[in-house]
Subunit: 374 residues, 4 copies
């Protein structure tokens, strides 16, 4: 099956009836082939974690405040010694050619035009170098460890060379259970969807499996990073190394002690195994563990500026946007992604203005209202 | 599009199958064009706050009591030095010509015939002077601040001149996120729906936006009232000034200290931004903050006499009715609004009689039963 | 409209596919005209209280126990100095001719054949004397106070004369808000459905309403019993007087002090006003107030033997069955009611056996499991 | 009705679109006649307990951990002095000929090929001796007490003779209330579905029911085991005796004191009476009662490896799989059951690897995350 045939035609303009960023989620099914949409939208298994990610956000509300002069309000923050214009990052999403022929190049263009930090996936459809030319100053590279350390480090050095400013190592994708929705919809990765960054890598021998050993444990052990590998990466990398896919406070504390530059609290958008808690539910304990000055980001479940506000109020410095990114890309390419980002930021700013917050720090000092606290 | 063409014909009698005030909500869609109904019924965004407004009421129950002689029961209350016959006010609702050709004139007639205090909107379809001729003694004027202070104060003086007894400044409408429902239904304010009170105002220059500034924050700052503006209004106004749109207890305390005559706890019926708590959920803390003798009203979510009882038991002196007002106006004009008000009052009285309350003070001393307290 | 025409034909045998008592609820719509079914099944208003009555039961579970020898198990209890075979009473239900031509006569036959105490309504379709001939030894009479005390006391003396053993005064029916379901279904009491016990009462003048008074409060006051009326009834009545329709613990304490012989905790099956708590939710506090040795019954929401067990474990001595009684009567007349009662009792006995209870006292000493107590 | 006619044809291969063990539940209705499926899938009464069994699992989540070297992970456990490869047992399920012509023989083949301990039902469609030839080393025999002790003990000795290693006495099936679903679907046990183990038993006189006694209590007492009968069995049995169907912590403590070798916490998959708590909800208190070293198993509600993990983390040593066993048998015979077991084990292993557990003991030391703990 040819991927181009099943990609529906994106718009060349912003769709007329978009009120808020999450509307791109409503429109997306008309722009993505059904099997691919199921793959993108679905979580692992029966979507239990996927739904938990959303439900926890609904538990909290924002209390409007009066008389705060918000005219000087802004959404700037410092992250890894740089100033970001706003706390919304584009999450690493693999194989964007699945939904748009320009793939990550279009996304990068949107990132640059909206001053957004883009985190480019190891599994991008366009090479990290091509994406770098389009993306803005603040771009990070998401790293999957390769079978050979030399291949892994080569990716890191390519990223440094291409001007990426940080490495984000994904730790929670060792083994993912498939999505029932995707499987029922008959999704398979098309033959022409390829990882551009890895295409010239030398084929590595699959590691020998010792006889009589348990397959799952061995397989998992081979696909997960050890403390030593992470330490070595931190030593070798010319760029600061963040870690993505943390849900346990103790783990977060250890990562900080190991010299990790920052943590992304994430359950991979509900795509790992279908029995883990919502990212947001684990955030407060992790913030408490790592202290106030340590870079902490969150993904999984963000659909609006209010969600971003809630994540920051509960402990995040910034958030990453995954699915909405893909939906907006599918609907209207670079224009769609830029528009979605602009809407998210406006929604966040309106939440800030309404609650009298003029800075990200003000959000952090805000107490949310919890359902049933009457 | 002409508004008259899309307004369906209201009844000239009370509909036969109305059992309770909230039945007007069921009937309304047959009397209001679909796009206008979506606009009136919808909240901001995805109606999350709209539904929270209702859900919190359902958490509470009234415990019937025996042997209280309720024969002397009444619903009177003192508010701003005046005696009101009952604690149900008509909330300020803009552009009532959207649903009935007689607009606020019909509503005012209903208010007078039922001894109801009507709060007339700055954005009324009929001028405040015309409405004043019909409305009863107890009428208040809802004030939106205008771009020029002189226009704002002119409205206040017109209201005083026309015999209004209080000014209600709405603070929570600085920026409202649109309703997805209304947008999907294609609603736009028709060209012939105009703010009668403002029609002769001199056009004001849109304020210059300083270059390089953040649009949302600036815009918000320009559209929200400052403490100083409110203080000046209180000084200048010959009428007591109340404030509508408060959800935070600290804000309520400050407003009281500033000399505000009373507060309407409100989230604008779920029409501001779609992530704020239910009004009722915030009421008890606000009452605790301002003390027992301070005028406190509530709107957002009231559909029955039991809801009114619950609001008063949780801290309100009185409530304002928004959507039911519009629905009843659409269904049967002045007759409908008067009937709806009569039903609400009867429902409240029946709740009072059932719980052995003979006065609004008795309701305030009543403890509600909370779900799952077994 | 003639009532016979709209009554569907009941079976002359027990329906084949009944597994449990509540199955009569499933079958009933095929045996009762739609408008009548809506009237019987519906609660007041929007059925909020009706649903709360059921939900509270679902919160609790029974924990099975091992090794209790239950061979001597029985369901006997002492109530008002008499021994009842089991704790299931037939609630007073008005106008049973609405669903079956033999009306209360059929029900009485079922009561006798199953050793069930029947509480006959003031508003029965057959006279209390005719019902008494069929009902078993243990029969009670439900009393609505009449406009003239002489008429009220005449009813009490007729009941005593006819061998009824207790009077149950209903206190929660002063004013009932209609059922939306019943109204939408077009229900009106047919002309040929008459209160047989009252048919020869002399018409009484409607009480004069003092001018300028509040209608609802006056009306309520005229239709509710005073403490003095109740005291006088207790003095005059040759039979013990119970009170039905109590939800408040303080009221229960006062009734006991007044000399009332027992209390039925009830919200009239959700038929009074649609904002009161579930009966079961109020039961534990009432039992605590009146002490262990005071007769306490419960109705509203019972559909199974497990529900009866739960009610007793939470403080009731016995329960009354309303809607299931009517459904079974409609489906299969006396046979249906007897079968329904037999099933309920068997279900209760099975719950007792499973939890190792051999007596009603054992149930009272049992701790239920509450959802989410893990 | 002939059972063969109504059994749909099972596959001779693993179905292509199975992602996880619970998918067999989705496929099963295409392989089992509707009435039989209703009987197997349904719980007692209205399926209330059946649903509670599932809901409690959903309350808990697993928190992934980093950097645990899981390469040596395994799922072994010691139970009754034997080493089991994994903690998943096949629950005793009666009359497997209802869904597959090879019945328990196919299941036994799957058990052997996956190193799974099979618990064979007294009511198996194939004799325990025939099943024993196929099942693996670790096989247990589920015992229903027979009317005559000699028949009961004969079964125990046949089981010992055939190499079964333990007896599991089911205590919670004395009286089961039928499933409404099964009844509505018209299910009756077909005439050719017979208990192979009991077919040559001499017919016993039904026990005489003393006149005037209560039928349910007598019947229950006759069908439940006494403490004495259990003690005698333990004395007589050459095999260790476990007990299945315990929900109360006090009962569990007494069983341990009586010399029972282990306990299966179970509500019979929601098939006893429809008002008991979820098995999982009762597990922690029971583990606390019996101490850490006592064999405790759980069934009722397990559908995935995550569920198994949760059960072990909350106190179980191992779990039993009932419905999924039948579904997989119906879909693809021995192959299906083996595949289902393999999937469950892989799912469990993946949960272990994700949470850094390398042994069952590690699971027991893991704290689950509970919904709404934010």
């Amino acid at each position: 099956m040819d991927s181009k045939e099943t990609t529906l035609t994106p718009l060349d303009h912003i769709p007329a009836d978009i009120v808020c960023a999450s509307d791109y989620e409503q429109l997306a099914p008309s722009f993505i082939a059904a099997d691919r949409f199921a793959y993108i939208a679905g979580g692992s298994g029966h979507d239990v974690t996927l739904h938990k990610n959303r439900e926890v956000f609904a538990d909290f509300s924002l209390v409007p405040r009066l008389f705060h002069d918000v005219s000087s309000g802004n959404t700037q923050l410092n992250l890894l010694g740089k100033t970001l214009t706003h706390p919304v990052l584009l999450a690493p999403v693999a194989y964007q050619a699945l939904v748009h022929s320009e793939a990550e190049i279009a996304t990068a263009y949107a990132a640059e035009s909206t001053d957004t930090c883009m985190v480019v996936s190891t599994l991008s459809s366009a090479t990290l170098e091509r994406v770098a030319k389009r993306a803005g100053q603040e771009r990070w590279f998401q790293l999957y460890f390769q079978a050979r350390d030399e291949d892994t480090f080569a990716l890191v050095h390519r990223a440094a060379q291409a001007g990426y400013r940080a490495i984000v190592v994904t730790l929670d994708a060792a083994v993912q259970t498939p999505s029932i929705r995707a499987m029922r919809a008959g999704f398979r990765l098309p033959n022409d969807i390829l990882p551009a960054n890895l295409i010239h890598q030398q084929a590595s021998e699959p590691p020998a499996m010792p006889a009589g050993q348990n397959h799952i444990f061995q397989c998992y052990a081979q696909h997960t990073l050890t403390r030593q590998q992470l330490k070595k990466l931190i030593e070798v990398s010319p760029l600061p190394v963040l870690v993505k896919g943390v849900l346990d406070a103790g783990d977060a504390g250890e990562l900080k002690a190991l010299g990790v530059a920052g943590i992304v609290v994430s359950n991979h958008g509900g795509r790992t195994i279908d029995c883990v808690p919502a990212s947001l539910a684990m955030l407060p304990a992790i913030r408490q563990e790592v202290g106030n000055d340590y870079p902490l980001l969150l993904d999984s479940g963000i659909r609006s500026g209010a969600d971003i506000f809630k994540a920051i109020a509960l402990g995040a410095d910034a958030v990453l946007i995954g699915r909405l990114q893909v939906y907006a890309l599918a609907v209207a390419g670079a224009l769609g992604v830029a528009h979605m980002l602009k809407l998210l930021r406006q929604e966040l700013e309106l939440c800030m203005a309404t609650t009298g917050c003029v800075s990200i720090e003000d959000i952090k000092a805000t107490k949310l209202h919890r359902q049933l606290e009457v």
